[in-house]
Amino acid sequence: MNTFSSLTPLLIIVAGALLVLILEVFLKKEKKDYLAYISIVFLLGSVYAGLRFWNQNPSYFNGKLLLDNFALFFIFILAIATILVTLISIKYIFLQNTNHGEYYALLLLALSGMMIMVSSTDFLIIFLGLEVLSVSSYALAGLKREDPLSSEAAAKYFLLGCFASAFIIFGLALLYGVTQSTDITVFVQSFADPNLSLLAVAGIGLIIIGLGFKIAVIPFHMWTPDVYQGSPTPVTAFFSVGPKVVGFAVLIRIFQPYWRAAVNTEAVFAALWIIAVLTMVIGNLIALRQTNVKRILAYSSIAHAGYLLVAILSRDNAGLLFYLMVYLFMNVGAFSAVIALSKKNKEYLELDDYAGIGFKYPWIGATFSIFLISLAGFPPTGGFLAKFYVFSTAVREGLITLVVIAVLASLVSVYYYLRIIIYMYMKEPSRDITIHTENPALFFVLFLCLYGVLQLGIFPGNVLVFIKQAVASIL
């Protein structure tokens, strides 16, 4: 296939974004739903265009665009995430008065940035993709313009995002100074040299810090709860999945060759080990004290980044990819359930609002409980299998202390996940909650996520075959 066809997955998404922007002008306010369906058509088209390259592993533009199975796997799950987020947004942005047609265009542009990031090993390209993602995300966070919390979220995300970009670009500059290249494979080769320059270590450290902001690990997590709380809820669902998934994709691209090539990995290993432990322990402990459901889910997503770092440390790429896939379904599912409990200009986000919901709205209560159980890691859900794969590989790699801490931390997390379920089923309702129930797209997403969580938890075989092929392509 020629170079142009290799760009089709990306071009379809960008074309979709531009078409949505043009049509937005001509559509009446009530008919802006069409924009969502148009973006879904383009998303599916892009997935189709991408999957044609499966098992071909081509590279274009002197290796700057790499469509290996690994990149395609990530494009696939990111596109699914965006489809799910688009579907849960349709009614939400209408009810919460954020009905700008540009919403879907920004989602598509953010996705295009993520696709650029996962399909390259050149850090200059990865950085540009990250900026496309970040700039769209800043605007998405502030879309509820009447809500001061949303503006605060946008400002905070913008400032800390710039901060993170500065770290990454400085690290990149140092590594370029050492290696005269911006490619990860060349960066990594410089670590094979025994008299390694200190600049290279500083460079990779700064890049890890910058990515740490994006995947929200402690101590780079300060923005997460406020941004997750203030952003429109579907956007929060998007933030909790999208940037985290691409952040880990880039980390795998760095560390897959790094662990093998580098002579002395101890410093980087120790740094990641400490970050992982801090993230799991502190993330779960702070979540215990939260009473806002969006903040609980924010700290839960921080804690999950810690478990995912365990997979990076134990070099378990297959386990990491499986975890990310399960995480996508259970997290988007949980946020969809939160969105379901809303009506015109009102969202129910406090724990007290959830009292008695399990009996009043049995479907929402039941699906939300299953997502929470999966997040906590109980069988037979995907969350259990994902944790099981990651932790058992880590034990085989000899990281016993880390796994013990991880298991204890996830035991702590059971408390705040089950607390929501206890509120839903065992508390007398203290407030009068009425919700807008005519939302077929949202219930479809709830069903899809439920299917995803249970399918991955009970019959993960087919997906594991795909993941093996994806991981094999970057060896």
């Binding site: 960008v14 974004a17 531009l18 922007l21 009446k28 306010k29 009530e30 274009y60 533009f61 002197n62 700057k64 665009l65 008065n97 700008h100 540009e102 919403y103 265009a105 920004l106 542009l109 953010a110 295009s112 940035g113 650029i116 050149d122 200059l124 390209i125 540009l128 993709g129 900026e131 496309v132 700039v135 769209s136 800043y138 605007a139 998405l140 502030g142 879309l143 313009r145 009447e146 946008a154």
Partner: protein, 168 residues
């Protein structure tokens, strides 16, 4: 001639930076900073780095200064820092200045001797830069267009006038 120009530009840029620090009026501050940036651009032009000189003037004197002016317009600080915090700020800035000076000294001591103009000429020629942009760096160059679209759409969404809910 070039010596004369060098000293003229250097003296004007240092003088305008000093004046900027000492002036209280924020509008003058901004103008003096533009003057300093333009003089630095002239210094780059003197050593034959015409491209960097242009970029210096377009980006710093143009784009970045507009940002400063916007911030001055929006924040509108009249009183400045309160006196009890001022003392602390001065000590801290003296400390930072000394550290920065030492850093500059060591950096220059190591690099000044081997530096020649050949590296600058090679990389700052606009023709070769353009050729690189459209061959080796075509893909990243095109990605920046997506970045600009995202930034434009995002900023318009955030600042556009609120639509009236009752009418269509």
């Amino acid at each position: 001639m070039s010596y004369f120009l060098f000293f003229l530009l250097a003296i004007v840029s240092i003088a305008s930076i000093l004046a900027m620090i000492l002036t209280k009026n924020q509008a003058y501050n901004a103008l003096l900073l533009i003057l300093a940036f333009t003089c630095t651009g002239g210094l780059f032009a003197l050593i034959g780095a015409s491209f960097i000189a242009t970029i210096q003037i377009i980006i710093y004197a143009g784009a970045i200064m507009i940002l400063f002016v916007f911030v001055i317009m929006m924040i509108n600080i009249r009183d400045g820092i309160p006196p009890e915090r001022k003392k602390w700020t001065i000590y801290f800035s003296i400390f930072v200045a000394v550290v920065f000076l030492a850093e500059l000294f060591f950096a220059l001591k190591g690099t000044l001797a081997p530096l020649s103009t050949s590296g600058i000429e090679q990389s700052s020629d606009p023709t070769s830069l353009g050729r690189l942009l459209f061959t080796e760096y075509l893909y990243p160059f095109e990605i920046t267009s997506i970045l600009i679209i995202a930034a434009l759409v995002g900023s318009i969404v955030l600042v556009k006038k609120k639509e009236n809910n009752d009418s269509n």
